[in-house]
Symmetry: C2
Subunit: 349 residues, 2 copies
């Protein structure tokens, strides 16, 4: 048994606690009988993520009220392969309708700015006033929108998590805010750390190489790594096949290869995929839940899946060997042996 030690060496194998996917993207979220919840969480657990916070914004739908929350919950129930938490997205129309019941049933309030939605300052301000102080607010704001949201957070003295930071200017604003003790945390998409728009002409969801360099330089400001919708968007922008699996299993191979190159430490990963997410999102520990990874053994990336990956036939030096949940091996050497038994932990504190 490898339990009770969160972090242990054995040959070239290391053991992480069960990882947290803080920005789980489910493309079709609220359509009745969507299978995306099952597929996405199957991908998550195969990648070492034993808990996922589901971003309440899908490809064309979002969780904004009782009805859409119920539908997403119905899609998740009995089909989720890992523990999950649901959240709700702010809109101009739902300031008043996010009542105490919804507040209690979700993990956080998401304030969206990307994908043709740009929440007006007046709307953001209303949500800041009505959303309970003890519940988190998460946003994907960038540039001017980010400055506005951080200003409101500062004025309200409340905490905010910024998801998917990818520019020099934005990481600087967050760094300055942290230096002045604003309660701000942030995550960077793993794809934004390893791929650039120069490498994939035609992509707009990736940082420029200049912006990417500033993300690496400010890694101490980055509280968490995420997956988010970036891999799905990248595939779509390049007219390749996209899937709920897109970019999920690539996470640890990318990060562990950076470890083998000396660009990251194992602690950097554990901090940003477990310790900090647990703290920021106030999540329960999962006992006897571990991920065994192998570092340094070079192989060509391939997971035999039917979707495009920027890692297809690229050499990596790290992989997930085994995932253990509650003492049971659920994933071993590429094979998932698990029924959908993930629990809804949205309301747990």
């Amino acid at each position: 048994d490898v339990s009770s030690v969160d972090f242990k060496t054995s040959h070239d194998t290391y053991i992480f606690p069960g990882l947290i996917n803080i920005a789980g993207f489910v493309p079709v979220l609220t359509t009745k009988n969507s299978r995306d919840f099952a597929e996405a969480t199957k991908a998550f657990i195969s990648a070492g993520f034993t808990t996922a916070l589901i971003t309440p914004v899908g490809l064309d739908d979002r969780i904004v009220d009782d009805r859409t929350l119920d539908q997403a919950r119905a899609n998740a129930k009995d089909s989720a392969y890992c523990n999950y938490a649901l959240s709700v997205s702010a809109s101009a129309g739902n300031v008043k309708s996010l009542d105490e019941e919804i507040q209690a049933d979700v993990k956080y309030l998401f304030i969206p700015f990307q994908d043709s939605v740009s929440t007006q300052v007046s709307v953001v301000a209303s949500h800041f006033t009505s959303w309970p102080e003890d519940k988190l607010i998460v946003t994907d704001a960038r540039g001017s929108d980010l400055a506005s949201v951080l200003l409101l957070a500062s004025l309200h003295g409340r905490s905010i998590h910024v998801s998917g930071v990818r520019s020099k200017e934005d990481i600087l604003l967050i760094s300055l805010s942290k230096a002045k003790h604003l309660k701000v945390t942030c995550d960077v998409s793993v794809y934004a750390l390893f791929f650039t728009r120069e490498q994939f002409p035609g992509s707009t969801c990736l940082p420029s190489s200049d912006d990417q360099a500033s993300l690496w330089k400010n890694l101490d400001v980055v509280d968490a790594f995420s997956i988010g919708s970036t891999p799905y968007e990248l595939a779509s922008e390049l007219k390749k096949s996209a899937s709920p699996w897109s970019g999920v299993k690539e996470t640890l191979p990318l990060l562990l290869t950076a470890v083998s190159q000396g660009r990251l430490s194992l602690k950097d990963i554990k901090d940003r995929l477990h310790d900090n997410p647990l703290r920021i999102f106030n999540l329960p520990e999962q006992v006897h839940t571990h991920v065994e990874v192998v570092v340094g053994r070079r192989s060509l990336y391939s997971d035999g899946a039917h979707y495009w990956s920027p890692l297809d036939n690229v050499a990596v030096a790290g992989e997930v060997h085994r995932v253990v949940v509650h003492g049971q091996t659920v994933f071993l050497d590429g094979a998932l042996t698990l029924s959908p038994s993930g629990r809804d932990t949205s309301s747990s504190t």
Copy 2:
């Protein structure tokens, strides 16, 4: 003698204390032997402004260091017709060089964003750190830049004055910030209250009529009225003749006409051209210094000057009748009878 009463009625004549021009625009500021300082301050005093804070940004030059400050000071000395204060403009290069002597010699630090200058967040942050906490910072930031500057002000817990606000979004951000007790003040250019870009096709320095309506609606958020460079810019954009006099003498006729129409009160004007500027910029009172104005007598605007005005041959219902400085009448019925005896009050507190 009308002294000791700041505000008094006599027929249709009212008496203001000497007004403060908080954003005095001098087109050619630091070129040796420029006469713009004399012309601008002659206009100011003829318009009822007995003190002017000179914006440290001219048409193509700015006050950024010891040399340019000395040159502007030399241009002002013995040629200013009203009291004046000089300030310094932030740049990427002068964070370190704005030493204690310069700090003591100027009224405020100006952080410029308009006119092709856009100060980077990192530069703004450095200036916020090094500029003394007890000295004011003024900015013309808008939109995203304004949000960033307000964020930095909030994080530093320091006061900031925003000059030339002209959009709905910006007045909203400032309103929200004030509601949360951020130490922010702002001014609106008088031209922005009375002219729109719809009225002057081809102009970009004026608000849209929609934005203008929001400025009037949020007048309680507006601490001061200013002149600024808007009138000069408007004339230039319309390819009309511009001058240091542009838009200066139009100020009280525009505001007093609004009083005669019931859109403004005399107190609204006194608050925003005297009381609040005195407090915000920590200026000394000028004793026995008054402006007599006439309200309600309709006439065609004309000041016989050789530059274009949007008020040329427009009916107004207010004008400056007399300006008294230290008990002496210096302007009466259109005629200026004064030698250049303005004092430098930059360091006064």
